[in-house]
Symmetry: C2
Subunit: 477 residues, 2 copies
């Protein structure tokens, strides 16, 4: 008989006879009460086993982690905490789980231990919730852009180009590296490699995205990007998913409007659809913070924090204004910042971004019009000749969640900037073509998807919001 | 003033004054009529320039490919072929396009030429249409699975595992390959590499997807996968996007039902939303086939073919039945097949698949229960001991579009198969864990997204349905 999902059983409005449920045992109490979960919801359904008429041998196999199939009647529950339960008529053990060996015991495990068991951690309440929320957030991304008429573009993963003009990249090759073909000077002869030249994993789809925006008007990417930076932090992954919209005819302020509207939409969509999971994660966060001193705890609970973002505009402040605020701030005057802000032109460090967001504005902040020399070559030079039309969105607890800009659409200005920093025009001939033929004002941004998932789930380590994290020394699974 | 998209202007129900449109000039006729496109639709809007009051200098700059902004009144058109046009009041050239240098001339270009200009080909009608259709198909994929309660899972791109137990893979490394650290025996010391061991680009997210299905119940992936096979064909890419759903408690027949329902849903969704683009592509195909002999032309027009798939069940036939049909077929008896089918156990070649689909059944076909020794280790051994619960979906003109199976959920059977073909159990310890703890019947499949786009757009070369194709010798852009 077809199984009914636990989510649908729990949402039933009336009792039903002879339902089939299949899932995994979370707990088994009093030789009678199975808490059964099938991943469709964070909630378990209670299955009441007729233990007097069930062989002892079977009862022993109802252990945490075991897969079981039950057939029975869905009846109103006498117990607290659930409306319905299943009075089990027949029970079948589909797959055993040796209680002594199963790593996911019904107790609290450390996040580190769970990371080492990324294939099983998703069977816990917290990681089931995180992965469902992540999935709904991803759906919201597509929904938003599709509704607005954006075209989803899969920019290449293997590439010869390097959008940032720098950045440590992973190399991709099909050569036998222990015995590669060589040039006369002893270097590897990449002409013999699969693509006929050296290739890397993409760090951004922006440049290709720009080319497509210059034809389709509004596009977005949503795919994996890579950084071979040896950053062993709670905010960095070597492989992460990035969303990069690009819009023809949008200037920097249109770009900020789009980013803000987009973030608000996807959070609202997810809050609406994931109430149960988010409530669970909110409770988890409260528990976790109990061990922290009062002043290090979050000022708002998770759902309040998300609603705050929905209801309040992000503060917009130019880099120049931000520098003034920081220079006059108490931690700057008292030299509490590791990097004291003395003058215009300084790069903003994480401590400064946090001060602006968490102490000064107490709100997400958009900083725009940065000094040209601390930003990328493709950003549009402003009329002042010293700033570019860049914007970063900073979030509490997360830091930079969006980096975007109006792009330099003027061929001559772009070429001059490329020459200055030594980017070969021949390498980017096709990118320059977009400025040679029908160039126009355009803007876009990149949003690190995992940082958004961090914010929405209230988790604090980026390794806990992606199924199988890739970090220095770790590509298991 | 905010621009209005061409799509919205053309969909207007009434005249409007002072609208702004921005886009690229497709053609400029009689010094008066601009066909303007902004990528929002395949249709251009006609902008009528008041050439008597426009400087000659400006008129000269209205060339194919130039970006322009026009302000004017949207009025009913006197000309044929459009309901509305813009009577231009002011026109601004945003970006010039030197008519002699712009590669996308208003004429027919070869597909080969366009591939070499993948950054600009999207400015043609055909590639604009293909990319919009591709985007809507991708949206349909997410919509289908999300509606059904599947969880979207981003399985890792960089991996140590190899789902196929074979397959040529791209290697990923952050080492300086011209001067790598070496072991005493002279081989490269990958312990010094970024991840501490050798890594590759994934060929499939299936194994990780299975682990997640064993917790979340129903999952799907949709991400890039890679093959370093030197296949210079119209059906293969080195980098392509794959969709891989995996469902706990589904057997092989549930799996076929899911695949068929899914394919039909996404095609219907796209046919409904992309009428204009598909009609254009249908016309393109008819034009293209005019140069072919009658018997090589498609039997059905594009939209008829898509509707046929929507209205007819896929034929399901066991491998054993398929072999009987092929053995008794005229091309087999007359030895017209390159590989004559003599006995049960033969692998089906493309010519056999095409015969079944295009000649015998004249319908999409699902072949299931293949001989175990021509299929992968993870497929479930049937009771007969010689076939596995595999299924391939074959499409006219495309060949295999889906490959799936019920997975071997029995620990002992799986381990024995792995040993037989020499897969290290230690490598896949985590995969085996899914069979050690709460194993259950489960099934899934992989669908090559570009093959689906090929089918829906009527294109014949897979390089023409992905933005920037990666093939042997080609990773430009």
């Amino acid at each position: 008989m077809k199984r009914t999902k636990v989510k649908d059983l729990l949402a039933s409005t009336q009792p039903m006879s002879d339902v089939t449920a299949k899932g995994w045992v979370r707990t088994f109490r009093n030789n009678q009460f199975i808490a059964l979960n099938d991943g469709s919801t964070i909630h378990n359904i209670q299955c009441v086993v007729d233990f007097e008429n069930t062989p002892e041998e079977t009862l022993k196999r109802i252990t945490t982690g075991a897969a079981v199939s039950v057939v029975g009647d869905l009846v109103e529950s006498q117990g607290a905490g659930q409306k319905f339960e299943i009075q089990v008529k027949t029970l079948e053990i589909l797959g055993d789980s040796d209680a002594e060996k199963f790593p996911m015991q019904p107790k609290k495990h450390s996040l580190e231990f769970l990371r080492d068991n990324a294939h099983l951690r998703v069977r816990t309440n917290a990681f089931g919730a995180i992965m469902r929320v992540r999935s709904v957030l991803a759906a919201a991304v597509h929904q938003y852009f599709q509704e607005q008429g954006f075209v989803y573009v899969n920019t290449p993963i293997i590439t010869g180009a390097d959008a940032e003009g720098a950045g440590e990249m992973f190399q991709v090759s099909a050569l036998d590296m222990n015995n590669p073909p060589r040039n006369e000077d002893g270097t590897i002869n990449y002409k013999e490699d699969f693509f006929g030249h050296q290739t890397n994993l993409t760090v951004s789809g922006q440049l290709e995205g720009e080319a497509f925006a210059m034809a389709l008007g509004q596009i977005y990417t949503f795919g994996p990007t890579f950084r071979a930076e040896n950053s062993n932090t709670s905010r960095h992954l070597a492989e992460f998913w990035m969303i990069e919209p690009e819009v023809a005819f949008n200037d920097l302020h249109d770009n900020m409007d789009l980013a803000e509207d987009f973030i608000r939409y996807v959070i609202k969509y997810t809050v609406d659809k994931c109430q149960d999971d988010l409530k669970f994660l909110e409770g988890r966060l409260i528990d976790e913070e109990k061990s922290k001193p009062q002043d290090q705890r979050s000022e708002m609970n998770l759902l309040d924090k998300l609603n705050f973002v929905l209801e309040n505009n992000f503060k917009r402040v130019s880099y120049t204004e931000a520098i003034d605020i920081l220079r006059d701030s108490t931690p700057n005057k008292k030299k509490k910042f590791q990097y004291v802000i003395n003058e215009w032109g300084a790069d903003l460090q994480s401590e400064h971004e946090r001060f602006l967001v968490e102490k000064h504005f107490k709100s997400p902040v958009i900083v725009y019009d940065y000094p040209a020399n601390i930003k990328s070559f493709y950003m549009r030079l402003n009329e002042d000749g010293k700033t570019v039309g860049a914007m970063d969105i900073l979030f509490p607890g997360i830091g930079e969640i969006v980096g975007g800009s109006q792009r330099e659409e003027r061929y001559d200005v772009l070429v001059e900037k490329m020459r200055k920093i030594g980017i070969d025009e021949k390498e980017l001939w096709w990118y320059l073509d977009t400025r040679r033929f029908g160039t126009a004002v355009h803007s876009g941004f990149g949003l690190g998807f995992e940082r958004l998932v961090l914010f929405v789930t209230g988790m604090t380590n980026i390794r806990d919001v992606i199924p199988f994290p890739r970090t220095p020394g770790n590509a298991e699974f």
